[in-house]
Symmetry: C2
Subunit: 867 residues, 2 copies
Amino acid sequence: MLVPPGAVVGLEAGETVRAESYGRKAADLARLAALGLPVPQGVALSFECVASLAAGGPMPELPAGLVRDGLLALRPSPEERAWGGPSAMLNLGACARTLALLTERVGVVAALRFHIRGISRFAQMVHGVEPEEVEALIRKHLRAGTEPDEAALRALLADVEALYDDAVGEPWPEDPGEQLEAAARAMALAWRAPTARILRQAKGAPGNAGLGFVVQRLALSLAPGVSGCGLLQLVSGRSGGPEIAGGFTLRSQGKEASTRTYPLTGQGAVETPGQMPLPPLDELAPAAVERLAAAAAQATTEFRDAHLVEFALEAGEPMVIDSVPVRRNGRAAVRIAVDLANAGVIGREEALLRIEPRSLLEHLHPQIDPAAPRDVFGTGLAASPGAATGRLVLSSETAMTAAAQGEPTILARVETGPEDIRGMHAAMGVLTLRGGMTSHAAVIARGIGVPCVVGAGDLRIDLRARTLTSPDGRAYHEGALLTLDGTRGEILAGAPAMIAPELGGAFSELLDWADAVRDLGVRANADTPAEARMARDFRVDGIGLCRTEHMFFDPERLTVMREMILAESEEGRKAALDRLLPMQRADFVELFEIMRGLPVVIRLLDPPLHEFLPQESEDLHALALAMDLPVEQVTARARALREVNPMLGMRGVRLGLVMPEIYEMQARAIFEAAVAVNRDAREPVVPEVMIPLVSANQEVVLAKARIDAVAAAVQAEEDVDLAFRLGVMVETPRAALRAGDLALSAAFLSFGTNDLTQMTYGLSRDDAGRFMREYVNRGVFTEDPFHTLDLEGVGELMLIAAKRGRTKNPGLVLGLCGEHGGDPSSVRFCKVAGFDYVSCSPFRVPIARLAAAQASLLVRDTADSVQ
Amino acid sequence: MLVPPGAVVGLEAGETVRAESYGRKAADLARLAALGLPVPQGVALSFECVASLAAGGPMPELPAGLVRDGLLALRPSPEERAWGGPSAMLNLGACARTLALLTERVGVVAALRFHIRGISRFAQMVHGVEPEEVEALIRKHLRAGTEPDEAALRALLADVEALYDDAVGEPWPEDPGEQLEAAARAMALAWRAPTARILRQAKGAPGNAGLGFVVQRLALSLAPGVSGCGLLQLVSGRSGGPEIAGGFTLRSQGKEASTRTYPLTGQGAVETPGQMPLPPLDELAPAAVERLAAAAAQATTEFRDAHLVEFALEAGEPMVIDSVPVRRNGRAAVRIAVDLANAGVIGREEALLRIEPRSLLEHLHPQIDPAAPRDVFGTGLAASPGAATGRLVLSSETAMTAAAQGEPTILARVETGPEDIRGMHAAMGVLTLRGGMTSHAAVIARGIGVPCVVGAGDLRIDLRARTLTSPDGRAYHEGALLTLDGTRGEILAGAPAMIAPELGGAFSELLDWADAVRDLGVRANADTPAEARMARDFRVDGIGLCRTEHMFFDPERLTVMREMILAESEEGRKAALDRLLPMQRADFVELFEIMRGLPVVIRLLDPPLHEFLPQESEDLHALALAMDLPVEQVTARARALREVNPMLGMRGVRLGLVMPEIYEMQARAIFEAAVAVNRDAREPVVPEVMIPLVSANQEVVLAKARIDAVAAAVQAEEDVDLAFRLGVMVETPRAALRAGDLALSAAFLSFGTNDLTQMTYGLSRDDAGRFMREYVNRGVFTEDPFHTLDLEGVGELMLIAAKRGRTKNPGLVLGLCGEHGGDPSSVRFCKVAGFDYVSCSPFRVPIARLAAAQASLLVRDTADSVQ
């Protein structure tokens, strides 16, 4: 076999060292060297060369000086750094001549240490000697914590060489070229091992991913004086703000345990109890730190991202070993991208594309400090993000009392119902043992932005003992200090350190840029004036879903609602509805005032009526007493309303057609409110009325006729022109298939992807929690379809509906109003599918704004590349 | 205006009298006349002529003799008889000359009666005189029950003529031509009235449907002697068997109240208490009856269907007034069609096409005699067809005790559970107050062929008082005699007369013909050996759905099943499953033996586990005691398994993947049973294993891997080759959309259209009962989609799936196994969509066989007509 052409190229060759031939590390080092940074002299070996080595091919010839004049480092260089690879081998070339040379340069102790490390590492990596055997020899000759002397090191070296001879069957090869070849071949073979291939394929590497090598002069970081290894970066990985961060370990070769880390500057010092603080490196070697900071700045510009430098000092002289992007959390990522764009290093669009939209959540809610210890005693579904600390309370009343005294609480319930809403408002966090992502607790908590964990089925509540007990038997009494992590779905003991939310600065700057780019509308799901205000603060393009039922959970209204439900006749229902009318109208007036100039989609009543009645028979008794009705009548009505599968029952437009007086009341409230708000002629409101749970066109035709009649009546009574739009919520597969019909009556279709996903999969979100984790872990579902829109099933139905709808009605407005509205890949899908807007809970609006901007950029780029 | 060409044609003109120009009645009368039957002389007037009359056009000239020589009848003749039209007008042409003529022929009394009837009818029809005014005059001059004398009749005639003069403002027109023209114009205008048009359009008439007239010599059926009117047919309308049936009224002109009916033969005599029996007509006028019987036979051959003759006798001389198809019930229709085919009057294929498949249900179950009075005191859903009478029992135990004593019972429960199954077997009929068409009671009852009504929510059961109470307060104590009509969904007091089922004779002959024609397979849904035997009796092509869960409801197995569910660990579950294995295997051995040589699709466990546990806390306590487990453990497990929407929960393949040991046990039982049955090498069984509730292809891949492994293990253990097919039940919209993927792993797809309909509509069948009737009545849904396959939604998903599946796997077998398998229009859809088979409950197999034959004939005819 011959050495392939271009097998070896010097790192000084600059752009010739391409990542796709020599690997990313080789290419980056060549770029750093070209910047004039002190990169140790060396060469890159091509993928082809390494593959040939693995196949038994010859080692190419390296520059003679490189091999003869000192020790070497052999580093792997795959095409992408993330794909991993074998460990680097340092200290290659140990032989009598280099020992003498090194002794001259760094003294005999350091020289011996290089040699011993070189031989033992080689024995392990190339010949499979057990690390324990080497360690036993080290223990025999050296004492931990003391500086070794020459005699001990010479004895150790002799024993290590004997071990080598013994294990390998031949003496230590004195020829550096032979050592290098053997090491390179071993690493080349390791890259080909099946396990290694599987591992990197899991990280996205192709089956035939290549490996290159970098062979460099070794930095003599074990030398006396200010020698060692470290990292330096110019921004904080936690805030993204400017700060010299990193660390330095004296006389080391990279990361070594049991070595103390020197801070780089006085600001970076960390006190460790019981130990003298180490001086900062900029006191020991100020010029080196200055040079390295400049190097990090150069690398940042060169690589167009905040980069750190991995460096070595050789008696105070800095060398750049490598440079990689700074590790950062979500908040830091935003600050860094915005700062880079403002510094002109990257463009604003690139800044937008660099941020994972979901990471913006970290800005919106308090988070538990990632560095804080976590005493988790229970887990459930992460139903509403953010973290909160407070005293445990087991009833809504206690939560309200505590809130009145300014005491923060965590409300824990088996499950919540309408009667808990005020308690949920009063608490800092809500925990339920039952229920899924669309349970009452989850929906309400997300709506009001309270952290919430639901379905923590392993926990037990004992209302007699007033305790919350963990599966391992730890019992917390009411009043115990707990922390709820709604982002992760965990319940923690105590009060770990928190990081406050931060919505200004870089965060808001980035979103301004996003709004300038995006052309997909972002609306909010907001049910109450309070949520609408929150949505307006998040700068939405309107309300995409106002679920009117949540307006009825207020205690006073709930009472009237229950009177309506328990009424024996249409007249009785109408009487109760007449009392609800002014309340609903007042809600809408407030909502419309807040959302002036923006569209507001109001969904007519959707849930089955039994959701408004208590579940337990005691509560039904109490209700009967309060309403002055026979207990039998109340329980009979509750029983009659009970459903086997409430999700698939008498709700939505079915209720609207069977008891038309309900929708008529709601339509009247909407129209009267619109008339009232529009009187002053400032930015008029055009309400959008949405009919839920449609499965047949005739449902829309009949409901529309009644709503139009109410609109005509209000117009006549008020003597005004009333503009409104009527639309359909597409939640059933059948509505999607029949969208062509629906589009003839509807001005807009809004996809309720929560229910549409449930029905397309035949999977209740409330019940799926039991196995969803296992399903996703085992790859049955690639993703939880309630989090990420299922493009293959639900998505196809949406595409069918969009196409059929727009064919029949080209002006049809298309929106998405499920929780997927805040999921970036779903937002991208909506953009590609030609939708007009997405709507999501207020706290996910920033995610959707950024995702929409990214989608616009990506679609444009694809379009460009197609042309 | 001119008289249109061809306005008048004589009935003797035969084929010239086309129904599309002169109306059906005219055409039929011409055909009867051409047969040589004694049809009174007359002419037909064309649609065009009648339309012209309505528009004020001239009356065409009629044969002079016809108008001058006697009284006339003017009869409407629309294109289809079903479209209705104005009433006929008899006795036209009353004038001095005809009075004299008639007096000569039939005597003065009969002549006067013709005249009086003619004038008063004309006054009412043409001039709107109130019938009460005429009746007052009749009451003044005649005494009911006595024969009028000439003097009284003359006085009456004078008063009637005076009334006419008074009301119309001019004297009675003596000119018969003038009378005829006025009557014809009035009838032509009546046909154009908007109400009349709407009425006939509701019956399928086009907007411009034409009306023709027949003008005939009047049969003088009021004459002395054996004169009168009657009907005669040669087959029974109830059995379809040969029998001279009909009746005759003396001296009448068609149907006249308060006239006694003479039987046609001695066999047809009906005794009326307190009255002397009338002599049969074949004693009074034997030649006439013989002639008329021959006429009916001729008409039957001529019109290729069992026809009756409407006749008049003029002093013993028969005349044929009309001939129409014999009215018949479903059973008679089959017998008639088969007899006609056997007599060579029609072909077998035509016989097949003449029977509405659904009407075959009448053959399969006892029915309440349609003639019996019905004392209905409650209604619910018609969950399982047939009628049964028995003593009311309110518990399954009582039903079993009564059955042991040979006492038939009707079991009434609020709802049923697994513990009621033996009681349901023991009862003759089952009634539940709760539940829908897929409730436990409904499914089990249909399976075992027991009449059942569910969801009778207006009834109340009081277990203390042991009563069943109707909404109007009627209370029936346990032991009361009740009748359940599962075909109509009614509960009746007492024991009305029944008609027994009849499966032999014409019924089975017709189905043999159907089998010879059809090319769509018909399988049965059968869960137990008993049902499989029943299916085999109905001559199925295999079992399309064996729901294995029903095998676990037997008390002994239920106990082991519950142990499995309550086990805390996989080992505990396996131990219980090991005990279930031999029981399941034995079931399958029996099933396979019964179904030798035919395919058997076995669906792996589908329902959620909580369906196997009791609902009530008392029952859970008892269960804990019986199992020797802590009550808390049992109730906690039951609570943990409870689901918000069980239809969309942890069931089907989800359960199969999370607890794989269940499917593994079932697969082993299936394979071991197949091996055992196939040992003797007679007609080997190839089991078809079906995975339920799939929504993602990976579910199939994972379940298949485990099932294949079990098959391999059984093959190795038994040292045999084991053939089986694995398939997927398509019940979720997503499975339909992803059928292309599924077809790569599956040998067959079977559409579970019950669940597919539920999910496509987002509509729980159990909860839909509450509003389905209203929805269908108001036309929101054109049909109940659980009865008739929704072609626009569910059907489209099936077509998508069929196309995608067959594209990827051209050999893919496609079946339908929901209740729609027994619905004729759904069967037709499956044929057109290229399916291989439908599968339905055993009792619907005959319907499906006939519907499949019809579909083949219709598809072939369409194909012929396309070529």
